[in-house]
């Protein structure tokens, strides 16, 4: 009896050792030489695997970053400048600091401003809805309200506001990975610079219909009237295809456009004081008068 046990142990042990040797030799033969810096870079990454950098996860980013001649095309929006400084230190590259960005929802067609003209009884998905028809309101451009962006966000930064029917961005949680931008079939969400102390201006509408049509569908729509572009003294606003767009790199956050917008399509957020429309209008009036006088004097 004990003989059998001893033999069994001996055979299994010898077999195990032999196979281990084979495995070791094969592993040596087919060993993949990997740059150790890839592991180091991966460790420095946030590990969200969100794909915001354009690569399939943090490991893929690390591999690409190690291979690349510089870091100009590789930037982790989630980790931001801190992470990129660490990566640059590991790889011995220089890294340009980027202004942190945040997702901005460019639609303010709330339930009150943009009445429903039909009922969508189908699948709760913006992508499915957008493929079938223009939407359940008169606006063929605006938010469809099924929350594809909310589902796409891995950081819990988006939620639907039941009162307005629009998505809301939690700017503390948003990492500007861009998943929502890709998920939105109407291309409403844009990544914009966060701005000093979070203060930023944007046109919260993407409706390219002519003024009367846009206005009929939604009282908050940009009607492409161009008053904002005329008011702006920093040349930051362009009106093209019946829609205004604010260039964040030129905007000086004076809020004049916001005060002058007849429909309230221009939004300024995170400003410490509420908008004093009258004061700003008065200021613009005086400035225009002075300009007129100066022109007359010449």
């Amino acid at each position: 009896m004990s003989n059998i046990i001893i033999w069994t142990i001996a055979v299994v042990t010898v077999l195990g050792l032999l196979l281990a040797l084979v495995l070791y030799l094969v592993a040596q033969k087919f060993k993949v030489e990997e740059d150790p810096r890839i592991d180091e870079v991966e460790k420095a990454m946030p590990g969200a695997n969100c794909g915001g950098c354009g690569f399939a996860g943090c490991r893929a980013f690390a591999e690409a970053a190690v291979k690349a001649p510089n870091l100009d095309n590789n930037y982790c929006p989630v980790g931001g400048n801190d992470t990129m400084a660490k990566v640059a230190a590991i790889l011995g590259y220089e890294v340009k600091e980027k202004a942190p960005q945040v997702a901005v929802v460019r639609c303010n067609g709330t339930c009150a401003a943009r009445p429903k003209v039909n009922d969508w009884g189908g699948t709760a998905s913006c992508a499915v809805k957008a493929q079938l028809y223009a939407g359940d309101t008169g606006c063929a451009w605006g938010c469809l309200g099924c929350g594809d962006c909310v589902n796409a966000c891995q950081f819990g930064a988006l939620s639907m506001d039941p009162e307005t029917g629009l998505p809301v961005v939690d700017q503390e949680k948003c990492t500007a990975c861009g998943a929502c931008v890709k998920a939105c079939p109407k291309k409403i969400i844009e990544l914009r610079p966060k701005g000093p102390r979070g203060m930023r201006m944007f046109v919260s509408c993407v409706n390219k219909d002519k003024g009367p049509v846009a206005k009929k569908a939604c009282s908050n729509a940009c009607i492409g009237c161009g008053i904002c572009a005329k008011t702006c003294t920093h040349d930051a606003i362009v009106v093209e295809g019946n829609i205004a767009y604010i260039d964040a790199s030129k905007c000086k956050l004076c809020r004049e456009c916001e005060a002058m917008c007849p429909t309230g399509a221009i939004h300024g957020i995170n400003f410490p004081k509420p908008l004093d429309k009258e004061a700003i209008k008065e200021r613009i009036k005086i400035r225009n008068q002075k300009a007129k006088e100066a022109a007359a004097n010449e």
Partner: protein, 471 residues
């Protein structure tokens, strides 16, 4: 001969052909019509009239915007009031030509009498040109320009013309009524199509639930003494009227993935299209009207109407006594493939074949539950796809896998959704996946074309050519 049907998949939904007894009656002219420039698959047409112009019925108001495009004619006589964007049936902004109706004066050269003209012109090229000028598009649903379909690519040969009179979609009866009331014209139209394709045999396929139409068309063929045109009685099965399904049923040939019916020697045209071909060739009458079934169990005044293109839906429904209070949904087309109308101020287009009203109980979707892997959707799919798999891939936006599993072959018939016991909105997702797969295929084709053109424009040295290939 035993009754034929297609070989895989299919369902047999509730027929609901309650308007089959209603003769096709002309709808009185609406005070204003709105003619869309996008009434066909392909490039939108380009308006060629100006605001203030006087137009007559049958006058060209928009010219083709490309090879796959069609002429569009005024359906009424009157004055052009405006040309601009207007919401279509799906609420999308499309350029429409608004015409205020004044009288009913037809353009010169159009034969508006009922006389049957049986003498077919000999010159096939002239016939195709007449079809092109008549703005004829496939009225079976896809609205593909007919003259393009009748000009097969070089190297392919047509062996049989199939006239699709299946009307397998529930509730629809306009093709049935057309067969009964305009059988002679349809048969002459079929004879024209057959001649154009090189005197090939022609089959008029009609489902067995329309025995009157089958008997009538057989009679007409005997009366006119046409050789080479036969009537085939089909077993009832949805989607028999699908192009690829009908070819399978009639000729026992399968059209490959991504291939055209002409690759197996078939050309399929709908009954209404055959009638439009007859009108365009024999009567010089372009498509200015089409028959529309207005029906629904909740709608008491069911009718088959001859409606001028561009008539607002609200006008049609008001003429028939308005929308019943319990109707919650108006569908353009049948319940299986039709799409809900998002605004009733939209106007009809050439392809509008039916308006169906459904009640709350009829449109309610069951609560979605998990897939139980029963495989009913795969059994029902007439294209041999696996909807349960495709919907999952579509939800995950896995474009490569969607393409590998032939999502682009989906014909959107809805059999999967109809048969699913878990109420999963299979078609919604598969259709989305189809769009993704088609997008990927088109993008690749466009990139290949651009690369070929770039290579043609500037001959590159070999090393650079290698580089560009990699890219």
């Amino acid at each position: 001969m035993s009754k034929r049907t297609f070989s895989i998949g299919g369902v047999h939904p509730h027929e609901g052909k309650i308007s089959r007894g209603c003769p096709i009656t002309p709808l009185p002219l609406a005070p204003t019509v709105y003619i869309s420039v996008a009434q066909h698959i392909g490039a939108p047409s380009v308006p060629c009239v100006a605001v203030g112009d006087k137009v007559k019925v049958g006058q060209v108001v928009a010219e083709p915007g490309g090879f796959v495009s069609a002429f569009i004619h005024s359906s009424v006589s009157g004055t052009v009031k405006s040309i601009g964007p207007r919401a279509d049936l799906a609420g999308r902004m499309v350029t429409h030509i608004e015409i205020a109706v004044e009288g009913d004066e037809w353009a010169d050269g159009i034969d508006t009498t009922d006389t049957l003209v049986t003498a077919i012109p000999q010159d096939n090229k002239a016939i195709i040109e007449k079809i092109r000028l008549g703005g004829v598009v496939g009225l079976g649903g896809a609205t593909f320009p007919t003259h393009v379909k009748l000009s097969p690519p070089p190297g392919s040969k047509c062996e049989r013309v199939i006239i699709n009179g299946c009307e397998c979609e529930p509730y629809l009866t306009s093709d049935f009524r057309t067969l009964l009331e305009k059988g002679e014209q349809v048969v002459v139209g079929a004879a024209i199509l057959r001649q154009v394709m090189g005197n090939v045999p022609c089959t008029i396929a009609i489902e067995e639930n329309k025995p009157e139409a089958i008997a009538h068309i057989k009679e007409v063929i005997a009366k006119l003494g046409y050789e080479g045109i036969e009537v085939m009685t089909m077993k009832m099965r949805y989607p028999q009227g699908g192009e690829k399904q009908l070819i399978d049923a009639v000729m026992h040939r399968q059209v490959g993935s991504g291939a055209l019916p002409i690759s197996v020697g078939a050309v399929v045209q709908n009954v209404a299209t055959a009638l439009a071909v007859y009108d365009a060739v024999q009567k010089n009458k372009p498509i200015v009207d089409n028959s529309v079934t207005v029906t629904g169990e909740c709608f008491p005044n069911q009718a088959n109407l001859l409606v001028r293109v561009g008539t607002p839906l609200r006008y049609i429904l008001d003429y028939l006594g308005g929308i019943p209070s319990d109707a919650v949904k108006v569908i353009s087309g049948g319940p299986m493939m039709g799409r809900a109308v998002s605004n009733l101020d939209a106007a009809t287009v050439k392809g509008t074949g039916a308006l169906l009203m459904l009640t709350e109980a009829q449109t309610r979707r069951g609560e979605e539950s998990n897939c139980i892997r029963c495989g009913r959707c795969a059994d029902a799919c007439p294209m041999g796809l696996e909807p349960f798999l495709l919907q999952k891939l579509s939800r995950n936006a896995d474009v490569e896998a969607l393409e590998a599993n032939a999502a682009h072959d989906c014909i959107e018939c809805g059999c999967c959704l109809y048969s699913c016991p878990a109420n999963i909105p299979l078609l919604d997702w598969v259709r989305l996946g189809k769009g993704m797969a088609m997008g990927a295929i088109r993008a690749r084709a466009a990139a290949a074309k651009a690369a070929a053109e770039a290579a043609k424009a500037a001959p590159v040295i070999p090393s650079e050519a290698k580089e560009s290939k990699k890219n």
